[in-house]
């Protein structure tokens, strides 16, 4: 992993964090906002897992375990919020 690439990932993560915060600050929390926040969280988690944890080039068993954790957690949270919005 080149240092430059890590820097790009870092900046992307910082921007995404501010974006999440901004969505939270600005007005109504509707379905769109919840989905957006969760998608951002998924992307951030994906970057951390692939590039910081360096699981990108590890065989699927391990990569899948952690990615699966990320997606399963977010999916269940989405379900819970979706049930709450109804």
């Amino acid at each position: 992993m080149s240092a430059h690439f890590l820097n790009v990932i870092w900046v992307a993560l910082m921007v995404a964090t501010v974006l999440t915060w901004f969505i939270g600050k600005s007005g109504q929390m509707d379905t769109g906002a919840v989905v957006a926040i969760l998608v951002i969280a998924a992307l951030k988690g994906w970057m951390i897992i692939y590039d910081f944890m360096a699981l990108r080039r590890v065989r699927l068993l391990w990569r899948g375990a952690v990615l699966g954790w990320l997606l399963a957690t977010l999916a269940l949270i989405l379900l819970a919020y979706w049930l709450g919005l109804k």
């Binding site: 992993m1 890590l6 926040i37 969760l38 951390i48 910081f52 699981l55 590890v58 819970a80």
Partner: protein, 199 residues
């Protein structure tokens, strides 16, 4: 200590058999992730039954502090990733410096948490104030203790790095510590929007 993940980066497309660091830490990481998985879901589904309480109480939280802490942890994670990149290029001193900055972000995180909790505790809020605060304090405090543990591990790694204990050929131990630290970051990436932002 073996350096199985060290020199093989140039080889390109071949997948590694094991994740970076000691497999023992990965068993621990998976166990911890599972615990947080249960905690997050417990929060999300308990919230369903107490929507008004959770929505109301969430507004009392300091989302700015939450955001700053997210930035700090991400930066810390980035520093550790840079430390690994540096050691792979055999830049021992650089690597150690990156680790120190990472520990610094952990300190920053705890300082922000100190003020955040201080504001809450001075209002007499504690673990048993109401169901939302039970979750808020249990989850964030449990996570904060992971930050402390992660910092402790990084401190050991830093000490060894300063003593020249790692090299491009052998940095298995550093990768072990790094993996744990990234896990602490990863958990917060979900914790922040869940507790502070999403209503």
């Amino acid at each position: 200590m073996t350096g199985t993940h060290g020199a093989s980066h140039s080889s390109g497309h071949k997948l590694h058999h094991y994740p970076p660091g000691d497999l023992a830490i990965w068993v621990f990481i998976l166990a911890e992730l599972f615990a947080f998985f249960v905690l997050f879901n417990a929060y999300a589904f308990t919230r369903l039954k107490h929507l008004e309480l959770f929505n109301e109480m969430q507004l009392t939280l300091d989302a700015n502090a939450g955001m700053i802490n997210t930035l700090l942890l991400i930066t810390g994670s980035w520093c550790v990733a840079r430390a690994i990149a540096a050691i792979k290029a055999n830049h021992c001193r650089h690597s150690a410096h990156w680790l120190l900055v990472a520990i610094g972000t952990g300190v920053g995180f705890l300082i922000v948490k100190y003020f955040e909790y201080g504001a809450k505790f001075s209002l007499g809020i504690n673990l048993d104030t109401n169901l939302f605060y039970t979750f808020y304090i249990a989850l964030t405090m449990f996570h904060a203790m992971h930050v402390v543990l992660g910092m402790t591990i990084l401190a050991f790694v830093w000490k060894k790095a300063m003593a020249g204990g790692y090299s491009a050929h052998d940095h298995h131990g550093m990768e072990t510590g790094a993996s744990y630290w990234h896990m602490v970051d990863l958990v917060w990436i979900i914790l922040f929007p869940l507790i502070y932002v999403m209503r």
